[in-house]
């Protein structure tokens, strides 16, 4: 993987449009080297689009993203976990090994490392199963292992627990805490306030495609600055 630190990331006036309509932006923000940022907001607020923008999967129609290193190197040190886990038609082990294979690691070594990651996320016994027989929670853990196997400096997660039950969510959050403790920068979208409270070090509250508030978690939850954020935290419906 890339050794040079790619963070911080500076976003300046970035806008994502589709068919003339602004989906997200203009966004200006900074991602520091360390931390766990929760991107929070109601459905359709633009969380997915924002994460994809940060990850370089959306073309910006205006503004720019500036990583500490030039783009190809910055991209190589990032990973993304999608809301619905993408299951390759392979075994769980080969799913996890895939990112190594496409980046030139020999098959036996890739598989050995994938087995290590499966063990780490609690799927040691599931390696030989086809990915599609895994349960929802197992699928997302597999996706996490696949995202982490190249040891990215930053990982984006788009509502990874949206379709998981309580226990699976807790297990996934534990893995995230571990990942964070090992020094990986985390940016995660959620519309689950409980999850945000449990995990966030800082919060971006987004609404109608704009960042309404960006604040340390404690301050955000104690004294939200906008009516929308206040309503959202209280569990009211924000439109």
């Amino acid at each position: 993987m890339v050794d040079l630190p790619i963070l911080p990331l500076t976003v300046t006036d970035a806008v994502v449009r589709r068919r003339g309509k602004v989906l997200v932006g203009p966004i200006s923000a900074e991602l520091e080297t360390d931390g766990l940022t929760i991107v929070m907001g109601p459905n359709g607020a633009g969380k997915t689009t924002l994460l994809r923008l940060l990850h370089g999967m959306e073309r910006v129609s205006k503004g720019q993203l500036t990583w500490r290193v030039p783009e190809p190197a910055a991209r190589a040190a990032q990973a993304f976990v999608f809301q619905t886990p993408i299951l390759m038609r392979r075994s769980a082990l080969d799913n996890v090994a895939y990112p190594l294979l496409v980046h030139g690691v020999a098959k036996t070594e890739a598989r050995a490392r994938a087995a290590g990651w499966l063990e780490k996320v609690g799927l040691a016994d599931s390696g030989s199963k086809p990915a599609h027989v895994l349960s929802g929670g197992e699928r997302q853990k597999m996706a996490l292992a696949r995202a982490l196997i190249r040891e990215p400096q930053i990982v984006f997660l788009d509502e990874p627990c949206a379709n998981l039950d309580g226990r699976a969510t807790r297990e996934f959050e534990d893995l995230l805490a571990e990942t964070r403790a090992e020094g990986t920068r985390i940016v995660m979208a959620t519309h689950d306030i409980g999850q945000a409270r449990r995990l966030a070090e800082d919060v971006w509250f987004i609404h109608h495609g704009r960042i309404h508030e960006a604040a340390p978690a404690e301050a955000f939850f104690a004294t939200p600055q906008t009516p929308e954020a206040r309503a959202f935290i209280q569990g009211d419906i924000v439109e």
């Binding site: 990973a79 390759m88 990112p99 496409v102």
Partner: protein
């Protein structure tokens, strides 16, 4: 009704006696069609995959053309290949008309659009599933195609088998470019056509049963081969 029973009996008799002509004709049928399927797959599978992955200006047009070519009447293909290969045609110097090679060429033209079109649909669906992951992982276009071909291999096998089914039963084109010459270009379908014309219904039917048997056998063999593979459970 009588003729069907007679045909079945005759088929059994021909097969059990290992009739030399029958074996020769059957092997030629297999050789021509399997070669054509192989060549068409080498062209059609990556083409279908490429069309699914690559965005370019005339993509829709190419796909529409491909789908239209799928409905190409074999007789017309045969006629065109005949004209191209005939002694006064542009490729006349190669002397290919009325050879198995000419039959293979005609079948490749018939089968390639079919195989490309079926594989395109299968790979397009798989690409829709994989798109975000493969983009996120920074894969090269070549890696994407390789991944889709590999993970979609069962669907692609089905495409090739569909090609085989169409090819082995095809008669119009290979009759024209092959000429149904005994011991040279006669295959099962053209032999059936000939025997029917002569009024030898039992023999024609017997050949027909052999043809069906071959088609089923090839399908079964290939499917069982692919199933023995462990990761083929998808």
């Amino acid at each position: 009704m009588n003729e069907i029973v007679e045909g079945l009996l005759k088929a059994g008799q021909l097969i059990l006696s290992l009739d030399a002509d029958l074996i020769e004709i059957s092997l030629r049928s297999l050789r021509v069609t399997l070669t054509a399927v192989l060549i068409s797959s080498v062209i059609g599978l990556p083409l279908g995959c490429w069309l699914a992955v690559r965005r370019f200006r005339f993509r829709r047009f190419v796909i529409a053309t491909l789908n239209a070519l799928m409905g190409l009447p074999p007789v017309v293909v045969g006629l065109i290949v005949y004209i191209l290969l005939s002694r006064s045609g542009p490729f006349g110097v190669f002397g290919l008309l009325f050879t198995p090679t000419a039959m293979i060429i005609a079948q490749v033209i018939i089968l390639t659009p079919l195989i490309a079109s079926i594989s395109h649909q299968a790979i397009r669906d798989l690409w829709a599933e994989y798109h975000d992951l493969l983009i996120s992982l920074n894969t090269t276009r070549r890696q994407r195609i390789a991944t889709l071909l590999w993970d979609g291999r069962r669907a692609l096998l089905t495409a090739a088998l569909a090609g085989f089914g169409r090819g082995i039963g095809e008669v119009g084109a290979i009759m024209i470019v092959g000429g149904n010459i005994d011991h040279a270009t006669r295959v099962l379908t053209t032999a059936i056509s000939l025997e029917t014309g002569k009024g030898n219904f039992a023999l024609a039917l017997a050949l027909g049963f052999v043809l069906i048997g071959l088609a089923v056998a090839v399908n079964l063999i290939i499917h069982s081969l692919s199933r023995t593979e462990r990761s083929g459970r998808w």
